[in-house]
């Protein structure tokens, strides 16, 4: 796009009302304020990026625009007119289409059937299908969205499935297209094709809203960009007048750091050694690529990254929950897991590996269990808690009491059902269970997610204490701040790769932010 084009655009934008205007949108989920006084305005026929870290409120905002949730207060204007959007149906009628992060497609349907679903022209399919076929032909040639309409969607590669989602929106005559993290599941080539499509859409008058955390994408194709943090808008920028470092800084922000009191680490021998590990998930997608690193005793290694870039998979592989498809892992110099010698989670734990899972209610606890039962999950077969046949409930109870005391779990009631503890106390229960076993290696995922400030401080201190006791700690967190204040060494993951390593004392947030967004070149990033 030449400068003169931009001027023409600018002129048109001045005449036309904004395609979308959001005014003072507020949205609460319980006590969580997901969006606070969010206002933004998007000119027609432009590509507008919304960037921010996980939990910044981007997806909630777009779900409100698409009618999936309703805002508690605020106003939506589409093409200058105040529009009430209470259901997705009303959003579609207002000309808004959305490509969800998880595709809303029926795998056993053909492309044509998927496109027609919900937008049929009459009670009989024949007519709907033939008109759709013609319209799709037009759309495909107009926007370069080739896809065989008679293929089953389940047989299409992910990139083409996404194309079907875009076609669905266009078929419903969407003039405003929202894409939620569209490149998360795409290969670089597919992403490139997607961008070309989006540029084509814009040139033909479609307004595109792109939600992403990848700065490179923002710089590559957007016209304007809004940065969100903590549910609020922190900045609007014209893309041509900003830069990746500026956006990174805005995204991460200058938060008040909860600096943890900790001395200099004294790393000892290598406890965990990971060599060229790969894993492939059930859908056949490779989630870890050639991952190699080690963790020494007496140090905390932090893994930074935007969630969904392989950190979860890495933790699960190390804990014996997910199978390794290539590479090898050793513990204290002895082989632990490789492709041919899998171990289950119980065996790995038995060898002295503690694991605080990322999602405590999904994996680390059983909602309906009493605290004392949840406090032995994973060590329930241990000799301490079992006689020949029966469990030693006294020991289980005593164990729970002791852990509650040591980790200040409140209320101190071992018989309270797990789900009735607050998030922070649930987390302390998990940490107490895993740390109290004095594992040689502790794997910790999102230790302070959904935890109140007081508990955060406590949990951080305990993790540092583990390190100082000479144990190896691997910390995964999407909170950059947490990684920076706890870790001695920081690895950055992106798309299943480790893209950089930084000594914590040398790390800057901007730099890490760029690496997390894969915007920095690896060569300059590796500094240790």
């Amino acid at each position: 796009m030449t400068p003169s084009d931009r001027r023409v655009d600018g002129l048109r934008n001045a005449i036309d009302p904004p395609a979308v205007e959001l005014i003072n949108i507020n949205k609460r989920f319980g006590s969580v304020q997901a969006n606070r006084n969010v206002s933004l305005s998007i000119a027609p026929a432009t590509i507008h990026g919304i960037v921010g870290e996980n939990g910044a409120g981007k997806s909630t905002l777009m779900s409100i625009l698409f009618g999936f949730y309703q805002a508690n207060s605020g106003e939506i204007r589409v093409n200058g007119k105040t529009t009430r959007i209470r259901t997705t149906e009303e959003a579609i009628r207002a000309g808004i289409g959305m490509v969800h992060q998880h595709f809303m497609l029926v795998d056993s349907f053909t492309v044509l059937e998927n496109v027609v679903l919900g937008a049929e022209s009459g009670r009989l399919l024949k007519e709907s299908l033939s008109t759709a076929r013609q319209t799709l032909d037009l759309l495909e040639s107009k926007y370069g969205l080739e896809v065989n309409v008679d293929t089953l969607v389940g047989d299409l590669p992910v990139g083409l499935q996404q194309r079907v989602e875009i076609l669905k929106a266009l078929y419903r005559e969407a003039q405003i297209l929202i894409l939620d993290e569209p490149t998360g599941v795409l290969t670089p080539q597919e992403s490139e094709q997607l961008f070309n499509i989006l540029l084509g859409l814009r040139d033909r008058g479609v307004t595109v809203i792109l939600i992403t955390h990848k700065l490179r994408e923002i710089m590559a194709i957007t016209d304007t960009v809004t940065v969100m943090r903590g549910g609020e808008v922190v900045a609007h920028r014209t893309t041509s007048q900003t830069s990746e470092p500026e956006l990174a800084e805005l995204m991460v922000g200058r938060k008040v750091l909860l600096r943890v009191e900790k001395g200099i680490s004294q790393p000892g021998s290598v406890v965990l050694d990971v060599r060229e590990v790969e894993t492939i998930d059930q859908r056949g997608v490779k989630r870890l690529h050639n991952v190699s690193f080690n963790v020494r005793s007496g140090e905390i290694v932090g893994i930074a990254g935007v969630s969904g870039n392989g950190q979860s998979e890495l933790l699960e592989v190390l804990a014996g929950i997910r199978t390794v498809t290539a590479g090898r892992i050793s513990l204290n110099g002895k082989p632990l897991i490789d492709q041919f010698n899998p171990r289950d989670a119980g065996q790995v734990r038995g060898l002295g590996v503690g694991h605080v899972p990322e999602d405590r209610l999904r994996m680390g606890l059983v909602r309906s269990f009493e605290a004392m039962e949840s406090s032995i999950l994973g060590i329930h077969s241990d000799r301490r808690f079992n006689a020949m046949v029966f469990m030693k409930l006294d020991a289980v109870l005593e164990n729970c009491r002791h852990k509650m005391e040591a980790f200040d779990v409140r209320p101190r009631n071992p018989h309270l059902v797990t789900v009735n503890f607050s998030g922070g106390n649930q987390q302390k229960l998990v940490l107490a269970r895993e740390m109290d076993e004095k594992p040689g290696l502790l794997l910790v995922g999102q230790p302070t997610r959904g935890v109140d400030i007081g508990a955060i401080e406590f949990i951080h201190k305990e993790i540092v204490a583990m390190r100082d006791a000479g144990r190896a700690v691997l910390l995964v967190s999407v909170e950059l701040e947490e990684i920076m204040s706890l870790a001695d060494r920081i690895l950055v993951m992106f798309d299943g790769h480790i893209v950089g390593e930084v000594t914590a004392s040398h790390a800057s947030e901007q730099e890490l932010g760029l690496m997390m967004a894969n915007a920095a070149t690896p060569a300059s990033a590796i500094r240790s």
Binding site: F29, S31, A319, I321, A345, V366, R367, S381, V417, G423
Partner: protein
Amino acid sequence: MSATRYEVPGWIGTVLVPTINICLAFLVSGLIIVVIGEDPWQALDLLISGAFGSQEAVGYTLYYTTNLIFTGLAVAVAFHAGLFNIGAEGQAYIGGLGVALVCLAGDANLPTFIIIPLCMVAAALFGAAWAFLPGYLQATRGSHIVITTIMFNFIASAVMVYLLVNVLIKPGQMAPETRTFAEVAWVPFLHEVLAPVGIKLARSPLNLSLALALLCCVVVWAFVWRTRWGYAIRTVGQNETAAVYAGINPKRCIVLAMTISGGLAGLVAMNEILGVQHRLLIDFVAGYGFTGIAVALMGRNHPFGIVLAALLFGALYQGGAELAFEIPTITRDMVVVIQGLVILFCGALEFMVKPRVESMYRWAHRTGTGS
């Protein structure tokens, strides 16, 4: 972080809501009795006196209760692993085959203290085997356990009819039944056991199997809540991801739970075949397996609740039989209706009443404390 959670005390979920649901079931049952032109209060009166009015009546009630404890426990154990075992009916039926084979082979030369334990083992083993297959298919092949156990009920029925008609039938007899087993293999009636001690009871089919059923309650309770295997099974049933995290093998737990479940169902044969009929006959299970589902749902899968629920249904069975004498229009089928309604209200509609009662409690609590 988490939304403010008004804590609702446990008794609301474990006592109040089930009670309301049972009341609803009985309310609808009462309406049905009105519809067929009878007096529900009179019916209730007859039902209660029919079930508890005499020693004999109580004996019959407890005899039915015995069967229902076994099947209720069977359904509950599977349920703790997150499995819905509709196959207790067929498992109990096949359990009867185990008993019959042992008796036919050994009742001539084995003493009581050997043959009865042997029968018990056979009943449990045969029932367990019949549940093992659906459990194994669910664990390894993902075959839906509800459908497979339904199918296994029908297959069991076909197998048993074939065996009784063609193989096990007492020669020279029309009815498809085995010969009556020798008395050494009978589980003694309670009135016979207690007579020498000086306690005189009216004759009834109640036999020592009740003691076995109660023992099973204790064993199941201890197994589910007091052993690491029970812990593992409950973890799998509540949260399979957490189970894998904890190093528990869900497949093994599913197979184990189903096997135990089938074994418990098989023990119905102890009461029904060795306790009362003393021979193997067609359809001796007569729906106890299905009623066991109602018993488990009502008893909230806890042995204590199961005993209570089994007692209630035992009383309904017996009282219903008596009721049919007095009011010819109300037969045992009315009990089946009540059973269906209990499953409907306590099981299928469990989320209808619960949230309403809970929010009512919260409302009352808030206005009560004035906050």
